[in-house]
Point group: C2
Chain length 340, copies 2
């Protein structure tokens, strides 16, 4: 469909535009080493490329700028694998080398590394709790009316929920309750918790006192309450460095959408395995139409647990970013799998 020469020209335009953010003219292209034909020829090719929708002019007599279609073609066909430098690799390695047994910290650090290395905004979706299983429940009473239930999952994730307790409920009863719950629920996938809590456990508890029953009701409600998935972002201000975001309105709209963590989480969650690139209008959210979002998933035992992503201008360093995300998501998976 595209001639070799057209592809060559397109490649130069996009490569160049990614670095300069300026429209590229025929003369500039001709000066490139790999190009061996004259500006006039290039102008002809560019006219064709424009007709085909791969590049655009910003005004009648301007140089060319990649269109979204152009970026798409570039991402699909023109990317050569980017070799990260030793220095870069060692920075990443450092993130994982320390003896940390806390996944949250590793994720936080990863987010930091990603945004620092790219000058884009990094977003990491924490491990999906509902794919883990329950390890243990603990209940600690805080006063004669309140207690906190603490859940620990097989991935070492700790979560706590507060609930009310009838003041007549004994401490020993609470203990009994905990024992029953642990016996019945240990090893149960979090996603099946609801069913279990309403099913066999409820039945089992019926023979106990009234207090028991009301406590259980509160506890159940607390346990089933969905916690929003954790979203780790870093380098939000990096967007301000991009020349395409020199407009307060754009920043405003992008920032306001980034504040809606549930929306962002949904987008990251709905990605398939591996790397995915969304360019401009391909993004679900209108507010992200001037951006590209590149996502990579990390896994536990082959199952997708979370997502690592970078958000930047459409003019992203696709090749480099993809390599980085690849490395980081694999390392995250690896650490995750070693631990659990």
């Amino acid at each position: 469909m595209l001639t070799d020469r057209q592809i060559q020209v397109l490649q130069v335009i996009i490569d160049e535009f990614i670095h300069t953010a300026q429209p590229i003219g025929s003369r500039a292209i001709a000066k490139k080493e790999q190009i061996s034909f004259s500006p006039a020829t290039i102008r002809n090719e560019m006219a064709d490329l424009e007709d085909l929708g791969f590049i655009e002019k910003t005004h009648t007599s301007s140089g060319r700028v990649p269109s979204e279609r152009g970026y798409r073609f570039y991402v699909d066909h023109l990317l050569s694998p980017f070799l990260l430098s030793n220095q870069e690799m060692s920075v990443i390695a450092q993130t994982f080398e320390k003896e940390i047994i806390e996944f949250e910290k590793v994720v936080q650090k990863s987010a930091r590394v990603l945004s620092d290395m790219t000058n884009y905004t990094s977003i990491i979706l924490g491990p999906e709790v509902f794919k883990t299983t329950l390890k243990q429940i603990q209940i600690i009473s805080l006063s004669d009316q309140a207690a906190v239930a603490i859940l620990v999952t097989n991935t070492g994730h700790v979560e706590h929920r507060y609930f009310t307790v009838p003041s007549t409920m004994q401490a020993s009863d609470l203990e009994k309750l905990v024992n029953i719950l642990n016996k019945r629920l240990a090893g149960v996938p979090i996603i099946q918790l609801q069913e279990k809590l309403y099913g066999e456990v409820a039945q089992l508890l019926q023979k106990y006192s009234n207090d028991f029953e009301t406590t259980y009701t509160y506890l159940k409600a607390a346990l089933l309450e969905k916690k929003p998935v954790k979203l780790y972002m870093d380098g939000k201000t990096n967007i301000l460095l991009q020349p395409e975001f020199n407009d307060i309105e754009k920043i405003q709209s992008l920032y306001s959408v980034m504040e809606k963590e549930d929306k962002m989480a949904n987008i990251l969650r709905s990605t398939s395995k591996g790397i995915k690139v969304s360019i401009g209008q391909e993004n679900e959210l209108d507010e992200m139409q001037d951006c590209s979002l590149i996502t990579a998933s990390y896994t536990l035992g082959g199952e997708q647990m979370g997502t690592v992503a970078l958000l930047g201008p459409k003019r992203m360093e696709y090749s480099r970013v993809i390599s980085l995300l690849n490395v980081l998501s694999t390392r995250l998976s690896k650490t995750f799998n070693t631990w659990y």
Copy 2:
């Protein structure tokens, strides 16, 4: 020092500028109801006010704008208590009315309410953990090499720390350890934890096995590791609405300082009891020299536990913001004290 008339003029200038963000001219002032003298007179007074440093010109023939000294005088002497509307009060009430026993949620909601009602950025410093006492410790082993210690404080705050365990350590031993710790540490102020852990508890544990010793070393390290204080911010994008922040550079520098949570936490922590107003250059951080920061502390049992703050342009609605912060911090204190 200032004549009544000068004060009148100053008040009008600041009140007006707070709402319009535009320099105020003598004619505009003369039109105000409470003003009964001519523009020419006002011009004379303004010249004096400028000499005294309370107002400034943006250029030779412009209207006047309050100086930081002017704001300071305004805040110290010209503020009349702002009466919040019934509607506003009921919005605040709603934040506290629901049966939530989770302090974190109340704080989050408060931050949201504050930023929504003011269009400024709200910052709340969570309760200081080191002022609470330890309620209970639990240890849950995750694998044969890792375990998680869970601390619950008297304020219901739950925290967890991961640590490594020698693989030869028995589950029953861990239980024994927990029992000893609970017996010795329940009720101990978190701030004294270190001392206790190194002192009597260490001694007590010496008679046990080698494994015990190493486990304890890891655990101790994990427990003493300082967690950063939680900072809740909301309405970060509100700053973009302020006309004084129409400059990407300013936004950039302000946002980057907001991302440094530890710095912000320090500033909020170091405030004294009650309301404090920092205007422009009075702020510690250079990046905040175009802002005003108003802070109010909330307490538990008379002791300062955390801080509620609003960050906006120097041209803040001081009166209203102060009232709001007063109401919110008292309500936070009240809820906090009822619970614990």
